[in-house]
């Protein structure tokens, strides 16, 4: 955990020092272009890699009654049997994190009155679901809001999102809820790994690193907006220069901006090769994208070698004379087959 924190801080420090000793073109031009290329190329590679992997068995995870006799009620979303059902299930999964909603936590109660002794109790645990949902939607809104830096004129829908996000009209510049909520949710997701000892035991650097990295991005972003501000219009000019492939000088932009930008670039480059690739991954997951119809439709393992068939007519052709000699019944008698 601390190693990942140190790594993120190190990246931030390198970006900051780099930007202040005049390497802004490296961190502000070369790195973003490289990051976008690695991100898009990496994701395409990852998706085609998944799409090329055969699925040997029909393995949807099911969470309810499968399609059966007419009078038995099917759990249509949790155990879909048609493509349309899979689409519905995928929708609830992607937009509402339906399967996380069923998260439970197990706990042993020492002196349970029912058992008169220790007893294992399962609770519905919605914390992870709630904070994961808050985090993802906040990041979506933040992502959309950032398009004000890439578009001129700024499309109206982005303005609407901003208006709703800042509806409380707190402070100036207006406080955007999603920024704060993303921070809170990330802190929860991190605290969960640190304080839940079972989770802590299975958490690795590749769990902590994305969390710290995202925290670094969110914190530097919040700082840039509310505290150590930089000139927004200058940043927009700078970014529009990048997207028009005509980079302009970064003079006058706060060093903190380059920390923010560099962390985002690192995130982009890390994305395709890490667990964050679950963004397209959910659509490629056979446990999610297959219909549970294995009783009606045979799932053929695509990596089975081509079958060598030896049909009965061929068999008869091969052994006809011997079979006739032995007096076995034949479909075609030897004299007929000779014609």
């Amino acid at each position: 955990m601390f190693a990942s924190l140190v790594l993120v801080l190190l990246i931030a420090a390198i970006a900051w020092i780099g930007a202040s000793v005049g390497l802004a073109p490296l961190f502000g031009v070369v790195l973003p272009y490289a990051a976008v290329l690695v991100f898009i190329g990496g994701m395409i590679w990852r998706m085609t890699y998944w799409a090329k992997s055969p699925v040997p068995f029909c393995i949807p995870t099911t969470g309810g009654q499968e399609q059966s006799l007419d009078f038995i009620k099917q759990a249509k979303i949790d155990c879909p049997s048609t493509t349309w059902g899979v689409v519905k299930r995928m929708f609830t999964e992607v937009f509402l994190f339906r399967s996380l909603f069923r998260n439970t936590s197990a706990e042993i109660v020492e002196n349970d009155p029912v058992n008169k002794g220790p007893r294992l109790i399962y609770y519905s645990s919605l914390w992870l679901w709630a904070f994961a949902l808050i985090f993802h939607y906040s990041v979506l809104v933040i992502f959309i809001r950032h398009f004000r830096f890439f578009m001129e004129p700024v499309p109206a829908p982005i303005t609407w999102v901003e208006t709703i996000d800042g509806i409380m009209q707190v402070g100036s510049p207006r406080f955007y809820w999603t920024g704060g909520l993303a921070l809170v949710a990330l802190l929860f997701l991190l605290a969960r790994r640190v304080w839940n000892y079972r989770l802590r035991y299975i958490s690795l650097a590749n769990d902590y690193f994305p969390l710290w990295l995202l925290l670094g991005i969110v914190c530097s972003g919040l700082c840039l907006r509310y505290f150590d501000k930089t000139e927004i219009s200058q940043v927009k000019i700078y970014l529009m220069g990048l997207t028009h492939f005509a980079p302009v000088s970064a003079a006058g932009i706060n060093g903190l901006f380059f920390i923010h930008l560099t962390l985002v670039c690192v995130l982009l480059m890390y994305f395709p090769f890490s667990k964050l690739a679950h963004m397209p991954g959910v659509f490629f997951s056979p446990t999610r994208n297959m219909a549970n119809n294995s009783r009606r439709i045979r799932h053929i393992n695509p990596w089975n070698p081509p079958k060598q068939y030896f049909t009965y007519p061929e068999y008869e052709d091969a052994y006809r004379d011997a079979m006739a000699e032995a007096g076995l019944p034949l479909e075609k008698q030897p004299e007929k087959a000779a014609e």
Binding site: V154, I158, E231, I237
Partner: protein
């Protein structure tokens, strides 16, 4: 590749979304300067220009609190020690009297729509 049709559609959507900053840049306009019209006949703002560009919203927030909560309607500039009357309409907009070519021009480009003007009044340059 299995399910090639769906996968390719997915990849195309993915690339279209995440490369949009680059291709929407070509559809819209470029943004190379703020193009604000500075007040004629004045040389200095309340604080130095760098500070004003980045922090004017926070300065206004501070002003609002000073005036309405602390009952202090005088602001001393850290730039040159000049004393200013704390007033959005009568100080800022007296010099920056061309609202649409100054504040608004820069704001619209950066998708900032201050709600101040539901109560405060924008000077209309003597049109009325």
């Amino acid at each position: 590749m299995y399910n090639a049709k769906a996968v390719i559609i997915g990849i195309v959507i993915f690339v279209a979304i995440f490369s949009s900053p680059f291709w929407t840049g070509w559809i819209g306009q470029d943004y190379t300067k703020t193009g604000v019209v500075l007040p004629a006949g004045e040389k200095e703002c309340i604080e130095d220009t760098e500070f004003m560009r980045a922090q004017h919203m926070r300065l206004l927030d501070e002003w609002r609190d000073q005036a309405l909560r602390e009952e202090n309607r005088v602001y001393e500039s850290a730039l040159n020690g000049k004393k200013w009357v704390i007033s959005l309409q009568n100080t800022c907009l007296k010099c920056h009297s061309n609202y649409s070519e100054f504040c608004e021009k820069c704001h619209v480009a950066n998708s900032v729509y201050p709600y101040c003007w539901t109560c405060h009044i924008i000077p209309t340059e003597g049109k009325r």
